[in-house]
């Protein structure tokens, strides 16, 4: 990454002299600076997490008597078809949402990367939906998709796409894509910025050189652009995968898990078990399993990033 602003920060293996200098600088004052963050994370994340693990070993109704059952919840979970189905759907959604977000995000980033008149306005316009909360955006979409009072059905009818009012949320495919498109509309601006920062770090001479060598646009994109924005891409990938695996609001507000529970996500199922069925112990066990899955997924993705970097 010669010429980029990151040059001054040593990363990975560096010259021996530098390593020695860095090692000498062990400074316990660092603890003071991270202390407030660590304190908050311990009190409001680590401790609750340990309590969750503890609860997962109990039959723990929201109200009533609590009973130790060891790994009973985990055994029940293993046989819980509906949880595995919800997890399967979550993965399905994650794959499509991630593809959509990265593709649209990258397309937008390429579109607005270079300065030209009015570019500030376009960037802002594409980014604005990011600023709206997920719950607000979901409510808005629930209204737009509503067959009686919304916008999409009458517009489709007006354009002649459907003959009668079409209930967008009644069938799995239409409902799924309606929600996924909402997510892409709302979040792709965020990925646009992340990927744009990667694109802007690529020195222009690379392209000039390739152009002189006679590479066409497709070749330049595949052999220069993509490899050089890998770091941004992996960051976007991790954010998108983690975010999508934890999806809840949009399916809760727009579809209530319907049609016929086909869009129940993993977190939705955890929420249902904990706050509809009041099986807190079981909900905790589900959370622990989901956490483990997410950790593994992230480690795999980070590994991917790391190994590619070492190879450079």
């Amino acid at each position: 990454m010669s010429g980029s602003q990151t040059d001054d920060v040593p990363k990975g293996p560096t010259s021996p002299a530098r390593r020695v200098r860095r090692r000498r600088r062990v400074d316990y004052a660092g603890y003071l600076y991270i202390a407030p963050a660590i304190l908050l994370v311990v009190v409001f994340f680590v401790v609750p997490l340990v309590m969750t693990a503890w609860m997962s070993l109990h039959n723990w109704p929201l109200i009533g008597r609590i009973r130790w059952i060891g790994f009973g919840n985990y055994i029940a979970l293993w046989n819980d078809q509906r949880f595995w189905h919800a997890l399967g759907f979550t993965v399905y959604y994650t794959v499509w949402a991630t593809i959509g977000l990265l593709a649209v995000g990258l397309a937008l980033a390429l579109f607005v990367e270079k300065p030209r008149p009015g570019i500030g306005f376009y960037r802002t316009a594409y980014f604005l939906p990011v600023v709206v909360g997920f719950a607000s955006a979901s409510l808005l979409w629930a209204w737009l998709s509503n067959v009686d009072s919304g916008l999409f059905s009458p517009v489709a009818q007006w354009l002649g796409l459907t003959a009668a009012p079409y209930n967008l949320l009644a069938d799995f495919d239409a409902a799924f894509w309606s929600v996924t498109i909402m997510v892409i509309w709302k979040v792709s601006g965020f990925y646009m910025i992340i990927l744009m920062s990667g694109l802007q770090a690529i020195p222009t001479d690379f392209y000039e050189a390739a152009r002189i060598d006679g590479a066409n646009y497709r070749q330049r994109f595949l052999h220069i652009t993509l490899p050089l924005i890998r770091r941004s891409l992996v960051l976007a990938l991790i954010l998108s995968v983690t975010g999508s695996m934890l999806a809840f609001d949009q399916f809760y507000i727009i579809l209530a898990g319907g049609p016929q529970n086909q869009t129940l996500t993993a977190v939705y199922w955890i929420f249902n078990q904990s706050f509809v069925s009041f099986r807190l112990g079981y909900g905790s066990a589900l959370s622990m399993v989901l956490l483990a899955i997410l950790l593994v997924l992230s480690l795999v993705q980070l590994q991917f990033l790391q190994s590619r970097e070492d190879r450079r």
Binding site: R23, A37, F127, S136, L140, W143, L144, S232
Partner: protein, 291 residues
């Protein structure tokens, strides 16, 4: 600088005005797609009650402008203004505290070497991977043990914790991208510790601070479940809690007009704040993400 200039020139050179025009047309079309739902919603809120239940074609009110829908919101809870103030307090405090805590931590992680540094960093990032819904009950028990149940303070502390993975990550990268030479030079001039952080480095990571603060504000402004569970008095409820009441309505009947007005009230401050801070925000996100 010269690079950008030459890039602009090269674009100009290769793109005659016809192509430029086409590019603008395409850009505007895409912008329209992204902005349409927002504009639509805001326009629809000014319809009358009867009109609000009908399909929004056209989006603007046909039978005269009305603020009926906003009036309806007044009937929920302790009134719109009251809950908006609560939300403002919570969101601002969350943003302020997130900035302080994550700037300190980002500085610590970026500029110091100490044992277990990697492990601490991972612990902070791990908070991103647990669904908030699943630690709700333990959090509740902890808050009541700390006598922070039903206080806005407790809510703020939890929101800040939820913000930390992203914010600390961003701030560490922001400090990483400040050239070491600057810190070294300042150190030679006698600036150390907090003084170095606030006076010398602070201005350099301002874009990072702006983006971390803005995101914290937006998330706290929009969060609903925690606000509902951790507060017990209606007077303390934030706007999103009010919105669920609006959504579930009387006898479950939905008043689309009131919902749209609520969404607009939730949305507009966020849009305004973003437009004010966007210059910093996009730069901060860029600097933080590129690493």
């Amino acid at each position: 600088m010269t690079e950008t200039a030459s890039a602009v020139r090269s674009i100009r050179r290769r793109h005659p005005w016809r192509i430029q025009l086409a590019m603008h047309a395409a850009s505007i079309l895409v912008a329209a797609i992204f902005l349409a739902p927002l504009v639509w919603t805001v326009l629809v809120t000014f319809k009358s009650k009867a009109e609000a239940g009908l399909p929004p074609l056209p989006p603007w009110p046909v039978g005269g402008w009305s603020i009926e829908n906003y009036r309806t919101l007044e009937n929920f809870g302790a009134g719109l203004i009251h809950h908006t103030l609560n939300s403002l307090i919570v969101a601002s405090a969350t943003a302020a505290l997130t900035i302080v805590v994550s700037t300190l931590a980002g500085y610590g992680f970026s500029r110091f070497r100490f044992p277990m540094k990697g492990a601490f960093f991972v612990v902070i990032l791990a908070a991103m991977m647990v669904p908030f819904q699943s630690i709700l009950t333990p959090l509740f028990l902890i808050l009541s043990r700390l006598h922070l149940y039903n206080t806005l303070t407790g809510l703020v502390l939890i929101y800040v914790t939820l913000q930390l993975p992203f914010s600390v990550f961003m701030m560490r990268n922001a400090f990483d991208s400040v050239p070491h030479e600057i810190a070294e030079a300042a150190r030679i001039d006698g600036a150390r510790g907090l003084k170095l952080l606030v006076i010398v480095l602070g201005p350099l990571v301002l874009p990072g601070i702006a983006s971390v603060g803005l995101i914290a504000f937006l998330n706290a402004w929009n969060e609903f479940l925690g606000a509902l569970i951790f507060l017990s008095e209606q007077d303390k409820y934030t706007l999103p809690v009010l919105m669920t009441a609006v959504r579930s309505g009387r006898f479950g009947a939905i008043d689309w007009g009131a919902v749209q007005a609520g969404v607009a009230v939730m949305m507009l401050p966020c849009l305004a704040l973003f437009l004010v801070l966007q210059r910093y925000y996009i730069r901060g996100l860029t600097a933080g993400a590129v690493k």
